[in-house]
């Protein structure tokens, strides 16, 4: 009889049940979407922040003091120390290798240049900097695989009109300011000669394949493959600076402690947490003879904003959950209020308040489980759409979220109907049946 009553209440007035089920399903859908997005979005946001550029700078340890002004090193080309290019694959063998998102070595060479278009010569007076780097190269890793990286990944704000040079070919991109000043276009031939010594007598011909705009000093430079710069500098297989872009955990009070003063247990925790300082240490352990420095403005700016945005995200999730809970609770409450007459009749027929309460609660629970499941499915869909539109990725469905959502649905529907149920169980049947 009990089950029949419950079943009847669903089949007799499907329309009313459908509306409260819809409210429940929608509420739970929003809860699912909010939870799925914010569970997955933390990593995603940290990746987003890598568009700020490299956060670690590797330079030779035993270097003479660089004379760098506005991105140009005024040291003579033969001064200072270099680092071996062949070691770079070791970056992907450190403890936090998967957090190394991209890296790019830099070798700058002062050059003199001339250009040609359709065999028509163009003089380019003055000394310029040629920045040798990787645009997009496959770096051999000691474990036998390769890793694809380059400056286009470390510095995503570098826009190239045309295309990036091929690391294997004699091609280059020129800065927008440089191109404008000398009226250079894509397809022009550039001939560069190392400015100091200039032992490459004939000069190296480079095809301009793109115009680079960065908003920095590179706008007035030539950017070419690292191999070209090495030939111009007559320094095979070396580089001078390495930019590393690593996914990190924002620094907290613990991370700011000096590792030298830590207890062994603390040191282990610090070493095994992707703080920027511990990743810097690990890179220094792999690449011998280097000085790994944290680019403070990037690391700190990122840390500040990331921790705030994460907090904001959870708050928004909380707000969505709250709204969902209210919607569900309110529809549960409304559905009980509507059934005064029915409750009156049941009581008149001899049901006690407890039985009426249990009956209605069972109905609500059934509604919660069915509505919650439908809501979960809808929420996964919603999370995909939202994730795709806002963050460009789709969060994976998680069983854990389903459990939370069903639990939440049950608790909220019961809570939402508790007060009206209590009221209902106190109703005096007589006036209700009289229609008062």
């Amino acid at each position: 009889m009990f089950l029949r009553l419950v079943a009847d209440s669903f089949t007799r007035r499907p329309r009313r049940k459908i509306i409260s089920m819809a409210a429940l399903a929608m509420g739970m859908g929003v809860a699912t979407a909010a939870l799925s997005v914010s569970l997955d979005v933390g990593d995603r946001l940290a990746r987003e922040f890598r568009s700020l550029g490299a956060n670690l700078l590797v330079t030779p340890l035993a270097d003479s003091l660089p004379l760098e002004i506005g991105g140009v090193d005024y040291r003579p080309a033969n001064a200072g120390a270099y680092l071996p290019e062949a070691d770079l694959g070791k970056l992907k063998t450190i403890f936090w290798r998967f957090n190394i998102m991209a890296f790019a070595p830099i070798l700058e060479v002062p050059v003199q240049a001339s250009a040609a278009r359709n065999d028509l010569g163009l003089e380019i007076p003055g000394n310029f900097t040629l920045i040798g780097t990787w645009s997009d190269t496959n770096v051999p890793i000691p474990d036998g695989t390769t890793y694809e990286t380059g400056i286009a990944k470390t510095n995503p704000w570098w826009h190239v009109e045309g295309k990036w040079f091929d690391d294997q070919l004699q091609q280059c991109v020129v800065g927008a300011g440089f191109a404008k000043r000398f009226r250079l276009r894509r397809g022009d031939q550039l001939k560069v000669v190392g400015a100091s010594g200039g032992r490459v007598a004939a000069g190296l011909p480079l095809e301009i394949v793109g115009i680079l705009s960065t908003g920095g000093p590179e706008d007035d430079a030539i950017v070419a493959p690292l191999a070209v710069a090495q030939r111009l500098a007559q320094r095979p297989d070396v580089y001078r600076r390495l930019y590393v872009s690593a996914l990190t955990k924002p620094e907290d009070a613990f991370a700011r402690k000096d590792p030298k003063t830590m207890t062994p247990a603390e040191y282990d925790t610090w070493y095994c947490t992707p703080y920027i300082s511990s990743i810097a240490l690990q890179i220094g352990e792999e690449l011998k003879g280097t000085d790994v420095r944290v680019i403070r403005r990037v690391a700190e700016g990122e840390g500040n904003v990331l921790s705030r945005v994460r907090l904001l995200l959870w708050l928004v999730t909380g707000a969505a959950l709250l709204a969902a809970a209210l919607a569900v609770g309110a529809s549960a409450a409304a559905s009980v209020i509507e059934r005064r007459t029915e409750i009156g009749l049941m009581k008149a027929l001899g049901a006690n308040s407890g039985l009426v309460g249990v009956l209605l609660a069972a109905e609500q629970l059934l509604l919660a489980i069915v509505g919650g499941s439908i809501g979960f499915a809808a929420g996964i869909l919603l999370a995909r759409i939202l994730g795709q539109r806002i963050f460009g990725f789709a969060p994976e469905p998680r069983l854990f979220v389903l459990l939370i959502v069903l639990g939440l649905a049950a608790i909220i529907t019961l809570l939402g109907s508790a007060y009206p149920l209590r009221q209902a169980s106190r109703y005096d049947p007589a006036p209700i049946l009289r229609g008062e």
């Binding site: 420095r293 403070r296 963050f391």
Partner: protein, 385 residues
């Protein structure tokens, strides 16, 4: 013109069932509260995030026009430009620092072995905002001396100096000295530089009244920074004013993500609110069949009946919206403090917008009442469902 009778009926409709009134008002109020809190936070987040992004340092550079001479250290600006910079933008101060770079010979006091290093002559306020970094040593009592200097961490290691030591500086026969008050680590080119007084650098370089460049940190949204750059560029035709793209792009992208997240949450919450109210209203529709039948039987037109219910919905929406939105703004002040450490400023525009949204939601949620227009008095009186 609605008659007093009309209002009396509306009053009765609203107060007919206190339980339901409570549910509907709570739903509308909560929806309004969340909406106004998130909208207010959204406006505030933009401002706060731009402030946070200033941790990235200078975002606007005033440099000599390329082409006057060779690129790099060769060309300079007139120092009078520095005085022409606006002190305020959007009523916030604009930190600006003028730099003059000289490659000089440097040695620790008492040593005779000199080595080349970049000397950056600086003048202006807000160096820490322009050039964010961490000071590894700092002696504030030495900072205000005219010959005080700050040394990058790599340069400090090279010359083996710490705070309190003195450095001798030379350039083409001109000499100066300075006393180190801090050692700074930025992870950039600044680590290898020595920051001295602008006048000293000008004297060493024999370039009185000249600057290499000016760096500014404009605390505004990327779009607003662009208009700042455009207007400053017009004001200073002799110089090349440009923004640092590296951070502006990332900032724009991250803000649009957050903004999208907040807007979609607001939409979802409004949708939920309307569903919730709709659930209540559809019950109302069933319950009021008899009333509507009676109204029609004694000559009430369909429009009149619909007007009644619309008025009811609008009144409920206004009540829920007024109270809820006010609460939401209060909540957002507190949320702003929790997230950004600074209480969010309540924006007046948010209040009417979120009240209006709530009223719209409550009208949309009254949709089930439309069914009442189809009620036929005769069948109601016969007791047919």
């Amino acid at each position: 013109m609605p008659s007093p009778m009309f209002w009396r009926i509306v009053r009765r409709l609203i107060t007919a069932n206190y339980g339901r009134l409570f549910v509907v008002l709570v739903a509308l109020g909560a929806g309004a509260a969340v909406t106004s809190a998130l909208l207010n936070l959204q406006i505030d987040a933009k401002k706060r995030l731009t402030t946070e992004f200033r941790a990235l340092g200078a975002n606007v550079i005033v440099a000599p026009r390329a082409g006057n001479s060779e690129s790099g250290a060769g060309s300079t600006l007139d120092a009078s430009l520095f005085a022409q910079l606006p002190a305020l933008y959007e009523s916030k101060p604009v930190p600006a620092v003028a730099f003059l770079y000289v490659i000089g010979q440097v040695a620790k006091a008492g040593q005779i072995h000199f080595e080349p290093a970049v000397l950056a002559g600086i003048e202006g306020l807000g160096l820490t905002q322009i050039r964010p970094g961490r000071r590894t040593a700092y002696r504030s009592e030495l900072e205000n001396a005219p010959d005080a200097c700050e040394v990058g961490v790599k340069a400090a290691a090279q010359f083996k100096v710490a705070a309190g030591d003195s450095l001798q500086l030379k350039n083409q026969g001109r000499e100066a000295s300075c006393k180190v008050f801090a050692v700074v680590a930025t992870g950039g080119a600044e680590d290898t530089q020595i920051f001295i007084n602008l006048k000293t650098a000008q004297q060493l370089a024999d370039l009185p009244g000249r600057l290499s460049l000016i760096q500014l940190s404009v605390n505004a949204t990327p779009d607003s920074v662009n208009s700042f750059i455009a207007s400053l560029g017009q004001q200073l035709p002799a110089a090349d004013v440009h923004g640092i793209k590296q951070f502006a792009e990332a900032e724009g992208r991250i803000y649009s993500r957050i903004s999208g997240l907040l807007s979609s949450t607001v939409l979802l919450v409004l949708f939920l609110t309307s569903l919730c109210v709709m659930a209540g209203m559809s019950n109302v529709a069933v319950e009021r069949k008899n009333d509507v039948g009676l109204m029609k039987a004694i000559g009430g037109s369909v429009e009149r009946v619909v007007d009644l219910f619309l008025t009811e919905a609008i009144l409920l929406g206004i009540a829920g919206g007024l109270v809820g939105s006010a609460l939401g703004i209060l909540v957002s002040i507190w949320l702003g403090k929790a997230v950004f450490g600074v209480a969010a400023q309540p924006r007046l525009i948010v209040y009417p917008v979120s009240v209006a949204l709530t009223v719209l939601v409550s009208i949309a949620a009254a949709f089930p009442l439309r069914r009442l227009a189809r009620v036929r008095p005769a069948s109601v009186f016969r007791g047919e469902e």
